[in-house]
């Protein structure tokens, strides 16, 4: 009984603390009423709080915002797609929204919506397991469209084909291996080169071709620090496997110089010395 009494008292104490603090001078400052619903919607969505962002997008749309209205609709559809908890109904609703937005004439938005229509069918609903029907390649990818989402679509298509379906000599693979010039956005281009590199090394066992693609990716520069480090070492090790010892040595040396505190630095330094010995 005593422990129960104390526990209840503790809870009541918390209630008092809550009440007193709620009356505190700055308590009201914690909820901002000055921010516009649209701003708040974007802010919440950019923090992956998709379910929480939806009502703000809806509120902004209710207020007949004219400017960026199509982007607000896009933002709401994107949040619907991955809101928690997930539901088939919200994915279907998002698909409907993207299909409608795919008719939009807003620059950049049309290709974004078209991408999502394909992506939902391919990666969410998996309505077709037959990747070879090339629906995306033939219908969605427009060779003349240089928008971000058109390039993003190419990257996604390449990733799935190379890592899952390719037998190394099919026509799509050949085409993809030669199509890097079609991707000009830096963040997509570096990842395209890396995926091709991974395909060549992991599934084809071709370090001599693989290291070149990883080196291309590295030159374009990654935002993620872990990838920056990994790719430098991958170039070095694949170049070494391909017999390009001077190149391998240069990349090991760069790794050691640029990341002196990494757990792999001592090993990379050892490799520089070892390869130097071999080259002399």
């Amino acid at each position: 009984m005593r422990s129960v009494s104390i526990a209840v008292a503790h809870q009541l104490g918390l209630l008092v603390l809550f009440t007193v603090s709620a009356c505190s001078p700055d308590a009201g400052e914690r909820t901002s009423s000055k921010i516009q619903p649209a701003e708040l919607g974007w802010e919440l969505a950019s923090r992956s709080l998709f379910a929480q962002a939806i009502p703000y997008f809806e509120k902004a749309l209710e207020h007949n915002v004219v400017q960026d209205r199509a982007w607000l609709e896009f933002g709401r559809a994107v949040c619907l797609l991955n809101r928690q908890p997930r539901s088939g109904a919200s994915i279907e609703e998002a698909l409907g929204e993207f299909m409608r937005l795919s008719q939009s004439d807003v620059s950049g938005l049309r290709s974004a919506a078209v991408f999502f229509v394909w992506r939902i069918n391919d990666f969410y609903l998996e309505t077709s397991n037959d990747h070879s029907d090339q629906r995306y390649a033939n219908v969605i990818i427009d060779a003349g469209d240089v928008s971000f989402y058109n390039q993003f679509g190419k990257l996604k298509y390449a990733t799935k084909h190379l890592m899952l379906f390719s037998n190394g000599s099919d026509d799509t693979t050949k085409e993809l291996l030669e199509s890097s010039a079609a991707i000009t956005d830096n963040s997509l281009a570096r990842n395209f080169e890396r995926i091709v590199g991974e395909f060549l090394v992991l599934t084809e066992g071709l370090p001599d071709e693989g290291w070149v693609r990883f080196a291309n990716a590295e030159r374009l520069g990654f935002d993620q620090i872990r990838l920056k480090r990994d790719v430098l070492l991958i170039v070095a090790r694949q170049a070494e496997r391909a017999g390009e010892h001077d190149i391998a040595q240069a990349y090991y040396a760069r790794f050691a110089k640029e990341y002196p505190r990494d757990v792999r630095t001592k090993w990379a330094t050892d490799q520089v010395a070892r390869l130097q010995g071999m080259l002399q």
């Binding site: 974007w42 950019s46 960026d68 989402y149 990994d230 070095a236």
Partner: protein, 547 residues
């Protein structure tokens, strides 16, 4: 009088309620009784000496601010870890949370209530002016550059937490008892194998010391074991030894060449038959941890931390495996009876006849992630937010973190901060090579399979062969199950990133000047591609293995 007895509980409740209400009201009234801004910070570290250290740092910060013409009051709230999660949630939802808090593990709470600190940590820490860390970005001053998963949230793509210490696991010993044993006639000759303070510097000398302790116990008819350990703390130590034996194996099976463990790719190699528990290096790793486990009390893997501490405090164990954070508590338990010191348990060297062949060298602790997870609340007024950040900058400045370490006997989280002599053996060993493949991969189900038959491995009558016979097939099956089950989660993460990318891309379109969103967009694309590529590659392997 008797008629009040049935109401005893209720009366007690009312008294307790009034008591707590008065205490809370007085405390709260005190906080808001003046115009001085109050910064409160909450944590769940109740270890000996830590609260006093935080208080001291808070007073120094207040004095420093006062010198600069700014008044501030810093109040610490220590909450027991058992109730911290529910307490912090109540505070956050109720809008009464302190300005600085140890962060919850829930990403949604994090995104909703805490300020991203990425931009702040990219700038120098002003308290590092005129110190060896001057000019470095605040993030660069930490041992991990604030890039490790505990300090950079890879899903939300932001730094939310500031760590204040680093945690290592070491062997603590009773220095008087150890000296008695080493100087005892039954231990003749052992001194030559030990350092000046009788600690072992090689794995061989550690095993010799353990044998000497057993001889001493037998000669003096004592219940004494060389090493006390518990299931939690011993695991970290044993993993370090086990992964020393898979360093070369990792190099061999690392097809991509990044020289770091990738649980997905390592598992594929296991399923393809490139390695197994039967592989000599893995077998040697198991032999090695069996050797260490045999120096602990029988059944140590079922003991809690308190049991191990009891063994050590009662002088029934000469040494004890535990975290550096326990150092002050251990000494306070030992009181005046004995002095507690520590040493890093030495790994076999690459010249070791049995174990050396599997190693690249000493396993580095450079990958250790600084700990502390203090975050700043968002939605509070700008002045308080700035002060909260300044307090964290002070706590983790060259001088502040050094002072904190001196006061608490906890390790600093920064590069190059000098520590007291007694803390030196606890510092992470940054020199060395990456660890090899960890069998448990930090996955609860895999760990469960490995630990279910630990009694076979650590029983004096058991053996590595018996252990592999008992576990081998189940381990392989569990790896398969874990790898393929993980695919659903991986796919869900990639899908979530679709929406993140879309939102960030839309923001860059609406406001093309916003370079920060450009960078975040690049981060998600890099992360998503890694995950998606591995997802498809594992699907490919699943198909191939099924054929």
């Amino acid at each position: 009088m008797k008629k009040w007895v049935p109401y005893g509980g209720l009366i007690l409740l009312l008294v307790a309620f009034l008591g707590s209400a008065i205490v809370v009201s007085l405390r709260t009234a005190d906080e808001f009784s003046s115009d001085i801004p109050v910064i409160r910070f909450a944590h769940w570290q109740l270890e000996s000496g830590l609260r006093e250290a935080f208080d001291e740092i808070a007073r120094s910060f207040e004095a420093l601010e006062r010198k600069n013409g700014r008044e501030v009051k810093v109040i610490q709230t220590a909450v027991p870890s058992q109730i911290y999660a529910s307490w912090s949630r109540t505070q956050l939802i109720g809008g009464t949370a302190p300005e600085i808090m140890m962060l919850p593990s829930n990403d949604e709470l994090l995104a909703r209530y805490f300020k991203p600190l990425t931009e702040v940590v990219d700038a120098p820490n002003p308290f590092n002016a005129s110190t060896p860390l001057e000019g470095y970005a605040w993030r660069e001053t930490f041992l991990d550059g604030l890039q490790s998963p505990g300090n950079f949230n890879e899903r939300l793509l932001e730094n939310y937490s500031i760590p204040f210490t680093v945690l290592t696991v070491r062997v603590f010993y009773n220095s008087e008892l150890l000296a008695n044993i080493v100087n005892d006639p039954v231990s003749s000759g052992i001194k030559e194998d030990l350092s000046h303070n009788f600690t072992p510097e090689t794995f061989e000398s550690f095993i010799l010391l353990c044998h000497a302790i057993r001889r001493y116990a037998m000669a003096h008819n004592l219940t004494l074991v060389p090493l006390a350990g518990s299931r939690t703390d011993s695991k970290t130590l044993l993993d370090r030894f086990q992964t020393s034996q898979t360093q070369r194996l990792l190099l061999e099976i690392d097809q991509l060449g990044q020289l770091r463990t990738s649980h997905g790719l390592d598992s594929i190699q296991l399923l393809k038959g490139s390695w197994s528990l039967e592989t000599p290096a893995v077998r040697d790793g198991l032999s090695l941890i069996r050797e260490i486990g045999l120096q602990m009390p029988v059944g140590f893997f079922q003991m809690g931390r308190e049991d191990a501490l009891f063994y050590f405090a009662q002088e029934r164990a000469v040494m004890m495996v535990t975290g550096a954070w326990d150092a002050p508590s251990l000494q306070s338990q030992a009181g005046d009876r004995f002095t507690v010191r520590a040493f890093p348990l030495p790994l076999p060297s690459i010249n070791d006849e049995t174990y050396g062949q599997n190693m690249l060298g000493l396993v580095s602790e450079a990958g250790v992630s600084p700990f502390g997870n203090l975050g700043v609340l968002q939605g509070i007024n700008t002045q308080k937010q700035e002060l909260a950040i300044r307090f964290l900058q002070y706590l983790t400045s060259y001088e502040g973190n050094q002072r904190f370490s001196q006061l608490s006997s906890w390790l600093p989280a920064l590069h190059g901060v000098p520590v007291e002599e007694m803390l030196e053996p606890l510092m992470p060993q940054l020199d060395g090579y990456p660890p090899g493949i960890a069998l448990g991969k930090n996955q609860a189900d895999l760990e469960r399979v490995l630990t279910r038959h630990q009694h076979v491995l650590f029983d004096p009558e058991g053996s590595v062969d018996d252990y592999i016979d008992a576990v081998g097939d189940k381990y392989r099956e569990e790896v398969r199950r874990w790898l393929f089950n993980r695919q659903d989660n991986r796919k869900r993460t990639v899908q979530q990133q679709d929406s993140q990318i879309a939102i960030l891309y839309a923001l860059t379109q609406i406001n093309p000047e916003e370079l920060r969103e450009q960078h975040r967009l690049g981060l998600v694309i890099d992360g998503q591609q890694s995950g998606e590529s591995e997802y498809y590659f594992i699907e490919r392997m699943r198909r191939e293995l099924a054929e």
